[in-house]
C-alpha cells in the first residue's frame, strides 16, 4: 500500500513537466523491426515460461513430472477435483472475490470522501490531519503485524471474521492521496460553478467529480483488487478457524495432497489462483496507467 502511494507524489507531476514536441522522427531511432520482434518474443517467453511450465505440470501426475513429459499430462481432471473440491479452493476463491470487492469499493468510497475534504474544504487543523494521514505511508501493515494482530484479535475480538480481513484495509493514505492529487489537478471553476448552482459537497462529488474520475477510480480499483486478492500474511494470522479463509493461504493446504508433495495439484492451484487478478489487471491496465497520469495520451 505504502509503496504505491509514494509514486503518486513522485510520478504524477511528471507528465506536466515534459512536453512532446513535433512529430517524432521514429524511423531513425527504431532498431530493425525483426530485431525488436525477436527480443520481445524472447522477453515474453522468458517471463511467461514459469507460468507455462506450471500450467503444464498442473495437468500431470508426479510420475509424469519426474519424467519431464513435455506434453499435457493425463491428470488434469483429477487434479482439478482435488484442488477445487477436496481442498476447497473454489470456496476460497469465492471468499477472496467478495473480500477483494468489498475492500476495493469501500476504499474507493472512503478515499473519494477524504480526497474531497482535503481539496475542497478549508478547516482548522487541516495540516495536522494531513500529516496524520501522510505519516501512515511509513507504516505498512506488515511492520505492525504483531501489534495489529493483538489489537484486532484481542481487543476487538474479531479473530476469524470477515471484518478482521476487510475493515483495517478500508482506508489508506494511498487512496486519499490519489484522489487528492487528481482533484487538485481539476480546474477550480468546477466547484465554483457547482456552488453557484447550490450543490452541496456530496452532490458535487456525485455529479461532477466522480464522472471525471473514472480513470483514477479504475487505477485505485486495480491496485486494491490485486492487493487484497494477494493478501497472505494477515489472513494467515487472523483467519484461524473462521469460515472465510482466502485463496493465498488456502494454497498452503495443497503442499501435501496425496501422500507427499503432489506437484500437479499445487501448480494447478497456483495457476487458478492467479487468473482473477491477472484478468482484472489486463482489463484495467489503461486505467491503471492513466490513473497515474503518466502516459502520454494527450
Amino acid at each position: 500500500m505504502a509503496e504505491l502511494s509514494r509514486q503518486i507524489g513522485t510520478v504524477a507531476p511528471h507528465d506536466r513537466t515534459t512536453s512532446l514536441t513535433g512529430p517524432p522522427s521514429w524511423k531513425r531511432f527504431v532498431p530493425e523491426r525483426w530485431y525488436a520482434h525477436v527480443i520481445l518474443w524472447i522477453a515474453c517467453l522468458l517471463i511467461g515460461f514459469p507460468l507455462l511450465y506450471a500450467a503444464l505440470v498442473s495437468t500431470q501426475n508426479n510420475a509424469q513430472v519426474a519424467n519431464f513429459v513435455l506434453s499435457p499430462g493425463s491428470s488434469f481432471a483429477e487434479n482439478f477435483q482435488q484442488v477445487m473440491v477436496n481442498r476447497y479452493l473454489g470456496e476460497y476463491m469465492l471468499n477472496t472475490i467478495s473480500l477483494a470487492v468489498v475492500i476495493t469499493i469501500g476504499k474507493t468510497i472512503l478515499s473519494l470522501l477524504s480526497g474531497l475534504a482535503f481539496v475542497y474544504f478549508r478547516f482548522p487543523g487541516k495540516w495536522i490531519v494531513f500529516g496524520f494521514v501522510l505519516a501512515t505511508l511509513m507504516m505498512p501493515t506488515e511492520i505492525l503485524i504483531i501489534g495489529l494482530y493483538r489489537y484486532v484479535s484481542g481487543t476487538l475480538g474479531w479473530g476469524g471474521t470477515f471484518q478482521a480481513l476487510a475493515v483495517p484495509f478500508l482506508a489508506s493514505a494511498t487512496g486519499t492521496f490519489l484522489f487528492r492529487q487528481h482533484f487538485s489537478n481539476l480546474p477550480a471553476e468546477l466547484s465554483e460553478a457547482a456552488q453557484m448552482d447550490g450543490a452541496n459537497p456530496l452532490q458535487f462529488l456525485w455529479r461532477v467529480l466522480i464522472p471525471m474520475s473514472w480513470n483514477t477510480i479504475g487505477a485505485l480499483a486495480v491496485i486494491q483488487f490485486v492487493y487484497s486478492w494477494n493478501m497472505y500474511l494477515w489472513p494467515q494470522l487472523i483467519m484461524q478457524g473462521g469460515d472465510f479463509q482466502v485463496v493465498q493461504v488456502g494454497l498452503r493446504t495443497l503442499l501435501a495432497v496425496d501422500t507427499s508433495i503432489a506437484y500437479g495439484p499445487l501448480m494447478l492451484g497456483a495457476v487458478i489462483a492467479s487468473i482473477p487478478p491477472v484478468i482484472v489487471f489486463i482489463i484495467l491496465q489503461k486505467q491503471f496507467m492513466s490513473g497515474f497520469q503518466i502516459t502520454t495520451d494527450k
Binding site: 481442498r87 469499493i105 470477515f162 478457524g241
Partner: protein, 453 residues
Amino acid sequence: MSRRSMLLAALTVIMALVALAPAMAQDKIQIPVWIAFTDSRLDWSRERAAEFNELFPQYEVTIEGYADYESIFAAASLAFEQGTQPAIVQYFEAATQDARDAGFEGNPQFKSVAEAFGDRTEVNGLPVNFDDFVDAARNYYTLDGSFTSFPWNTSSAIMFSNKTMLEAAGVEGIPATWAEVDAACEKIMAMENAPANCITWPNHGWFFEQAVAMQGADLVNNGNGREARATETFINSDAAVAYVSWWKDLQDKGYYIYTGAQRDWGGTYNAFVAGQVAMLLYSSSDTTALTNDGAAAGFDVVASFYPHNQDVEYAGNLIGGASLWLSNDLSTEVEDGALTFLLYFTNTENAASWHQFTGYVPITKSAIALLESEGWYEENPNSLVASDQLAAAIPSSATAGAIVGAFPAIRNHVTNAIEQVLVNGRDVTEALTEAKELADETLAEYNLLYAGE
C-alpha cells in the same frame, strides 16, 4: 447515469453478501475438528466424519486440515485467543506441556479428556474403555495419573530401505546400527549405477530425540520432565553429540543428502521414492504409502528399526505422532458430541483401518486383534515394525519421552543447530552447546510466564 446505477447495484449486492455470510442457519450441533493433515489422511478423516454425521444426525462434525503439526499448533493458539477454537484439535506430542499450560487467567485452553468422560462407561451408546489403548500410547499420554488428551495417531521413527538397491549392491540384511548403515552406504555408493546419495531423513527434532533416547539419555532434567517441571535441557549431551557427529560424517562422505529445509517430510519422501537414495529414516505413519509407492516405482521397500549406536546399549524408542485435545469451554451438548466422535473415530474398525491406510500403530489392543485375525500382518510385514519397535523399548524416563514447556521452540533451536552443522559446517559440539544455551533461555522464559518460576 448507467455507471452510477451499476455502482449502486454492485454495492447492494456486496452489502447483502456481507450481511448474509455469517447468518447461514445451522440447526445441528456443530463440532469443528482440526487435524494437521492436508493429504489423503484428511480425506480419510472426512469420510469417517461423514459416516459419523449419518449415524448421529444431531451432530455435524466438520474437519479442517492444516499443513503440519507446527502450523496447527500456532493456529490453535491464535484461535484460542480469538475465541474461534474448534471443539477438538490435534496436537503433536511435543505440544503436550504447552497444551496443559495454555490459557488465560482462570481459563485453560483444554480440558483433560479423562475429566470430561468422568466415570461414564458409554457416551451415546459408544463404550468408553481406556484400558484398550496400547501401552506405549497409554504411558505417554497418561500425565498425573489420567489421560489428558485422546490418543489417535501414534507412530515411531523407523527406517525404510530400497531392498532392490541394497541387494544389487551386495548388502546382506538390513543395517541395524550406525556402523552398518555406514558400511551399507559404502557398498551402495560404490555400485556402477549408484544413486545420487545413500540415505536421507528430515531435519526434524523428533529424529534427534529418538536417537538420544535410544542411547538411554534424557533430553531434559527432572526425569525427562516427568517428575517435576523441566528447567534445563541436555541438548549437548554425549548421546546428542555422537548422533549429530555420525550424521555429519554421513554427509561428509556424500552418503547423506540434506534436502535444504527443516522438517522437509515431502522432499525426503520424494527422494526415496524417486530412487535418489537407498534408505530413508521416516515416520512409520507413511509405511503403507511408502511401501506402495516403492512397488509402483519398481522396487521392494523393507521397513526396519531405527538404526542405533553400536557403542551404546540399545535403550529403545519413543512414540511420536499426535493426540486429540478437547477444548475447555464447550457447552455440554457440544462436549458430548465431541466425546462421541472421539470414541467413534478410534473404535476398533476405524483404528484398524487407520493403521492399514497409513502405518500409524493400531491404537487399541482390539484393533490389533482384528488385524491379526484378518491376517494383515502376514501380508504386510512392514506394518508390524513400528509396533514391534515400541514394544522393544525398555521402560525408562528416556524412552517415555520428554515433557517440557516450549518444546516446539526448543526443537527449533535443535534443528537450527543441526542445520548450522550440515549447511555451514559448524562444529557439532559448539553448535549443540549454543543450542542448549538458547533452549535453556527459552525454557526459563517459558517457565517464568507459565509457571511463575
